[in-house]
């Protein structure tokens, strides 16, 4: 195992201690952040590895949430059964969305998925009998009784996502995704069925996002159309880009900055959006590859400096001798 793997395990272990030391507010905050990071991790596979800037990730988050809400409230199923249903519904809708939308590329794909978010939002708002519209649906049964339990559930999901991303990255699937990202016209000429890989990846990413949504909505026992906005999708996109799209841990750094920062800065009130915007601009200017690549570059720089010191040291010794 590499040094970074140990580091990751240490960080996860430290994070697991949060419920014992944090105040209830901080615990709530960390659950929100972890949920957001999970969505960014899902988007990262589509955006970072496959190269498609999706602006409808929040739709799948919401679909997962609504599956949870409707299955428990309308059908009377247990929340655990609903949790199993949520990735299925998100996968099916994700796959159906992928068929037309993944024919679009880059900017056009972004605009297309943005429009999709808008359309879904309008549908949710105009079906109050099913969706509760702006008022939303209340009293969604909780999966677990304690906040600590939810924290660990979210943590488990995040760790699973990290492992899954790592496996994808190292597998032939990941190589194919990167090939699609780098040159989508060349890939089919190498015998790669790009449509299949793109659609499946998109749908699996949607399914995982659905699970994150279902857990979170069950946690806060409430859902409304606010989760289907372009803004919510954009948060996930921003987390990916800021953290470093196409890197394993990028979305985690990005999630901490994009979701964590505004929450911690709640006291700034009016100035908050501008401040967060300024931070994002600063990150993009200072480290175009995101926080993740910035850290990599930094460690390389430090490593080099160390080597230079060593070299200088050995030279000095030779001089003495």
């Amino acid at each position: 195992m590499k040094k970074s793997t140990y580091l990751l395990i240490a960080i996860v272990a430290l994070a697991c201690a949060i419920p014992y030391v944090a105040s209830p507010y901080l615990l709530r905050l960390s659950i929100t952040i972890i949920s957001g990071i999970s969505v960014a991790m899902c988007l990262n596979v589509v955006l970072g590895y496959m190269g498609y800037p999706s602006l409808c990730q929040a739709v799948f988050y919401g679909i997962g949430g609504y599956t949870m809400a409707l299955a428990t409230l309308r059908l009377g199923l247990s929340p655990w059964v609903a949790l199993v249903l949520s990735p299925i519904s998100a996968f099916v809708i994700g796959y159906l969305v992928a068929i037309p939308f993944l024919k679009l590329r880059s900017m056009f794909f972004a605009i297309g998925t943005m429009a999709l978010t808008g359309v879904v939002n309008v549908i949710i708002v105009n079906f109050p009998s099913v969706t509760g519209s702006d008022a939303g649906l209340r009293n969604i049964p909780s999966l677990l009784e304690t906040e600590t339990g939810f924290f660990y559930l979210e943590m488990a999901l995040l760790v699973l996502l990290i492992i899954a991303t790592r496996l994808v990255e190292k597998s032939y699937w990941g190589r194919i995704l990167v090939a699609i990202r780098d040159d989508e016209d060349l890939a089919p000429n190498l015998g790669i069925n790009t449509a299949k890989y793109k659609r499946t990846t998109f749908a699996v990413s949607a399914a995982a996002t659905g699970v994150a949504g279902a857990i979170f909505m069950s946690y806060q026992t409430y859902i409304n159309s606010n989760y289907f906005t372009v803004g919510a999708s954009f948060t996930a996109l921003a987390a990916c880009v800021i953290g470093g799209a196409g890197t394993l841990l990028g979305p985690i750094y990005g999630g901490l900055v994009v979701i964590g920062l505004p929450e911690t800065l709640r006291a700034m009130a009016v100035w908050r959006p501008s401040f967060v915007g300024a931070v994002l601009v600063a990150v993009i200017i200072l480290s175009p590859g995101g926080v993740s690549r910035g850290l990599q570059m930094l460690s390389v720089l430090i490593g080099k400096r160390r080597e230079t010191y060593k070299a200088a040291g050995s030279l000095a010794k030779r001089g003495e001798g």
Partner: protein
Amino acid sequence: MAQNGIVLQVDDLSKHFGGITAVDFLSFDVKRGEIVGLLGPNGSGKTTVFNLITGVYLPDSGKITFEGEDITNELTWRIVLKGVSRTYQATKVFPFQTVLDNVVIAMIARARKMRMHETSRKIEDALKFVRLAEMKNSRAGDLTHAQQRRLMVAMALVEEPVLLLLDEITAGMSGEECGEMIEIARKIRDRGTTIVLIEHNMRVAMTLSDRVLVLNFGKRIAEGTPEEVSANEMVLEAYLGREQK
């Protein structure tokens, strides 16, 4: 399929782009083990023919048969899996990945069914074949132009295709590099791969091809051995223009 049968047959192939006719009722066939040269002035529809064969464009009319199978409206990746490989006029590799990774990606779609060591042997062979074995850990984008083009050939070759479509393999190369490329193309044919090549460089086309087709405005204007074609009036006219009388 007979060993000396026809690998590729093209019947009455047509393609229009708006008002422009790129390929105009073109018919030809390619026999197994042959090197066929497609020649013609700029814009005569040579690359369009390649794009039609590999399914990048759908033809307006006509039929393409590969090893007895109709591949006219087939998807690109399926055609490639059947055994058609191509290189591009403009160099197309994955510049941010290593040479080795480029070949691995070229292999990936069909390699999973095979054994791992066989796959890696094929990759090694392909890299040695184009003389890039020493450079396998360099970034493809850092290679010279000629090396990148050789890498592109390795990527097309690694899956051991039945039919190889080479689109101006010597584009932008110096004389010496051209010679190397011709040598590689000959060796590919000796392995039993059938080749269709597009060439601008007359010398290259004439030395490599067993048979030459000359296109102009998407139509075939001449066909035959390199010697026959180079003496053909129509060909000289298409390339040099009509002599004023």
